[in-house]
Amino acid sequence: MQWHDLMQTDESAEDLALRTELQNMLGMAPVQHPHLEPTSDAIALAKSLHREAMRRRHTAAVAPIRKRPFFMLIAAAIPVILCITAIGTWGVKQKRRADVLAAKTKELETKQNRIDAAREGVRNRESQPPPNPLESEQKPVSPNANPNQTPSNNGELIKPEERPRYLNSRPEQHRVGNRR
């Protein structure tokens, strides 16, 4: 299709008459658009506009992908998300393992301490000298004996005399045994 054909308007005689009538009414001379020879500037401008149009048409071919930035963003984020999830899972697993190992170590340590304490006790007992049997016979241990009290009655039993209460005197001691 040529531009020359497009510039020709195929109007009905009725429309042409209407236009002429309106032009007369408005006091206009019939508008004659002068045929201008395209200048070199005009041609250069037309060519540059055409180049721009071609560039945009090429860009438009890529545009459908750019029109969906959300999906592109998700697609780009998937590897990152997978990577983070994998690292997170690995980290959680490692932490659990570390917790189990720490509990085991603590248990072993407690056990070892107990064994050490038992050994220490045994060693202490072994390192003490054994008790002298003679000394133990010479000094019988009396649970009620008062070490500060010295016997004054030479082994005799003394019964305190019963005295009337009105006598404010010191009770006399009567010998119970070995009366002479």
Partner: protein
Amino acid sequence: MQTVAPPQLDFESTDFFDAFALLYPRLVNYARRYGATFPEDITQEAFVILMQRETHVEHPVAFLYGTVRTLSLTEKRPMKNQNLSLDAILLDPGFASDAEGQLLSREIREHMRTLSPTFREALWLFVVEGLSIREIAGIIDIPEATVKTRIFRAKAQLREQLNSNGGVHAMA
């Protein structure tokens, strides 16, 4: 039944360069009419969008006008939810292009400004830009019958105003 793909437009032929030289200033003016701050940028963008299309464009001229119109309105409406009406743009005398000043007398311009923006837009494209009803329908994205209705209503309103002013169209 085999469908034949319509031929693609050739953007590197001499015909296209001729059409470019003719359409470019008209489209720049059209963008300026909509109050575009950078009408040339908008026109160039419209050409790039046309060239970029891989599907067949049945009315490239209408497509260019429509794209320029949309881009100009979008430029005036930086925030999408800001409801800037066509009235606010087309009724502002500051947005009237130089071309309008050259083509129409001051009185006629005043009369045109009293028209509804939708009528004025259709009238402008039909009378000044010389576009066909079908092309205008493609640009504004309305049925051809609606375009015709708008033009006829614009004509009726203009005639009424001119008659009430004592037949000002003696200039015709």
